[in-house]
């Protein structure tokens, strides 16, 4: 069958519909402007068929893509954030939490559970950027720790997929304490002989990058993901430096030696299967 270059079509296609707030349809590729139906995009693992741009994945979509059918059993689903500081900025934190739960159907920004990838049992800890920017507060920290503990107990590796803006400001200093908390969990996991595989999705920044995301035995990222302790806007504002075009991107991190590989989404499952097989063999 002849290959049809639909990109030309797309360039001349009418502007995607905008909603009442003037936002483009969420399935519009920010990189090449192509737009897709939900099922088209889902069939392609939410990777743009034209340019390879990786659309964000919800935690449950990610688990569905990675875990063997029917293997995933969620754990700690009932954990909910409290509002220990009674935090109130322009809106109360409690309200933001309720709203996030309603719109995402998740208790917090991470989903954990036992599962299998390519036949290898493992513990999955997957973040969801749609829940308050994937920010890490007490619940995300606790869930990650429980994932590590469960993995150590069952003698399986942890596979974590990160997508986070960093620590959650609304829980103040307690959010910062989730950095050492998760770091200690990784230390315990490693002492118990467990492996940690980190897959960094767009974006993995600040507190999550500065804790468990960079402590994997193997650390990989999706193409084009922003992986930075400080994001480009703040670096620009603070230092007035001219930023390189690829500032903080996975490709730049790879070049500087901070990643083991950049794995496109269609290859991720096979990559993890191979890796988990190697870790399983050593035990």
């Amino acid at each position: 069958m002849a290959h049809i270059d639909v990109s030309i079509e797309h360039r001349h296609a009418p502007e995607p519909e905008r909603d009442s707030a003037g936002r483009k349809h969420p399935n519009t590729c920010p990189s090449c402007g192509s737009h897709y139906r939900d099922d088209e995009l889902a069939a392609n693992l939410r990777v743009c068929p034209q340019c390879g741009h990786h659309f964000p994945l919800r935690a449950r979509e990610r688990i569905e893509q990675l875990a063997d059918d029917g293997s995933f059993a969620e754990e700690a689903a009932d954990l909910r954030s409290q509002d220990p500081l009674g935090f109130f900025d322009l809106r109360p934190y409690a309200e933001r939490l309720a709203e996030a739960e309603l719109s995402t159907g998740l208790g917090d920004a991470m989903v954990i559970g036992r599962g299998a990838v390519g036949g290898h049992a493992c513990e999955l800890a997957v973040m969801d950027f749609a829940f308050m920017g994937g920010s890490m507060g007490s619940v995300v920290g606790e869930k990650f720790v429980r994932a590590c503990e469960s993995a150590a107990e069952h003698g399986v590796p942890v596979v974590t997929v990160t997508a986070s803006g960093g620590a959650r400001m609304q829980e103040g200093i307690l959010s910062l304490m989730q950095l050492p908390k998760t770091v200690c969990a990784v230390a315990d996991l490693h002492d118990a002989g467990g492996a940690l595989v980190c897959v960094m999705a767009h974006p993995t920044t600040a507190g999550v990058l500065a804790s468990f995301a960079t402590l994997g035995d193997v650390t990989v990222a999706e193409p084009g993901a922003l992986l930075a302790f400080t994001g480009p806007r703040v670096v620009q504002q603070t230092t007035r430096e001219k930023l390189p075009d690829d500032f903080g991107l996975a490709e730049s991190n790879y070049r500087f030696g901070h990643l083991d590989a950049i794995v496109p989404r269609p290859e991720l499952r096979a990559y993890l299967t191979r890796l988990l097989g190697l870790f399983a063999n050593g035990r």
Binding site: P84, L176, S211, F247, F256
Partner: protein, 327 residues
């Protein structure tokens, strides 16, 4: 509101009193100190007081890490460089004698005048600084010296080169190394405990905090810029974040509030150092009899327990129960 807070702190105190103890002898001192602290801080700080802490913690004349090394230690020998790339002067580290024993000290160092501030990058470390700190930690571990860390940084440096050299990874690696040590680790927040840059050297057995210091997930200005979309609203952000010592103690994030001279540490460096020295000596005394493996286990357990969340119907305040095993 203040009365409620006080009640909570009193409950916490009585909870601590009821805990089973390994070393009872030390406890009375610990409780007495908590009681004294409770008396000092019976009223919760007002929003205005929190804003004042922000100013005091950043006061130009506040004693910095090197000022304390000078006053608290003898025979300080500074170590330089990360043995890979550079000597980041925002971090100072070395060997010294404290209270008769050899310790390793590490801290962030701001500068006193413009040229020193520039040289020390206002206490904002590059990854090289954290790797220098890790060298010092490794040294402490190798020779069994206790590690004392002095936290005073607005945050890790947010620059292009810092990112390229792996800022996030360096902060994580530094914490991971601290989680491995089998020597006593004591941290003190002596000024600004700025986010990731601070916690990189503060994963400790005991975390002390001076009464006018700050310990926060983000600077009040940064928080205001994001949530209020105006950095000028930093007072509101500070009040909401509650980065003061009293609240950190209440949340189980720190173990002890170290008193300062009446108006603040900047008024009398010698007295500030004496008060900090007393607190460090007490903390070190509590830790020194404990076996290394046990020390490490409890250090990890300490952080394992921090966080506030609910699960189903039961409310868990992990910071109150699992967290603080008295030594």
């Amino acid at each position: 509101m203040a009365a409620e807070d006080e009640l909570r702190l009193r409950e916490r105190l009585s909870h601590l009193r009821s805990l089973p103890l390994l070393r009872g002898a030390r406890l009375s001192g610990e409780l007495a100190r908590l009681q004294r602290q409770l008396d000092r801080i019976a009223a919760a700080p007002t929003d205005e007081e929190i804003a004042r802490f922000v100013e005091l913690a950043r006061h130009e004349q506040r004693p910095y890490a090197l000022d304390y090394f000078d006053r608290l230690c003898e025979d300080f020998v500074e170590l330089h460089g990360d043995r890979a790339r550079a000597d980041d002067q925002a971090v100072v580290a070395g060997l010294a004698r404290f209270d008769g024993r050899t310790v390793v000290v590490v801290g962030q160092q701001k500068g006193r005048d413009i040229s020193e501030r520039t040289r020390r990058n206002f206490g904002m470390a590059y990854p090289e600084g954290y790797r220098k700190a890790m060298r010092a930690m490794t040294l402490a571990q190798r020779h069994g010296f206790p590690l004392l860390s002095f936290v005073d940084t607005p945050g890790a440096y947010p620059g292009v080169a810092a990112e390229q050299h792996g800022q996030g990874g360096a902060i994580a690696a530094s914490q991971a190394l601290l989680a491995q040590l089998t020597v006593p680790v004591i941290s003190c927040i002596i000024g600004e405990g700025g986010s990731g840059g601070a916690i990189a050297i503060a994963l400790a057995d005991r975390v002390l905090m001076q009464e006018n210091a700050l310990y926060s997930v983000i600077s009040p200005e940064g928080c205001a810029a994001i949530l209020w979309r105006d950095a000028g609203e930093w007072r509101k952000a500070a009040a909401a974040l509650r980065p003061d010592a009293r609240h950190c103690l209440e949340l189980g994030v720190i173990d002890t509030i170290v008193p300062e001279p009446t108006v603040g540490a900047h008024t009398d460096h010698d007295e500030a150092a004496r008060l900090l020295g007393d607190a460090l000596r007490d903390a070190l005394g509590e830790l020194e009899g404990v076996h290394g493996e046990e020390l490490r286990r409890r250090r990890r357990q300490r952080f394992r327990g921090i966080g506030v969340f609910t699960e189903a119907l039961a409310t868990a305040v992990a910071g109150d129960s699992a967290g603080h095993e008295p030594l």
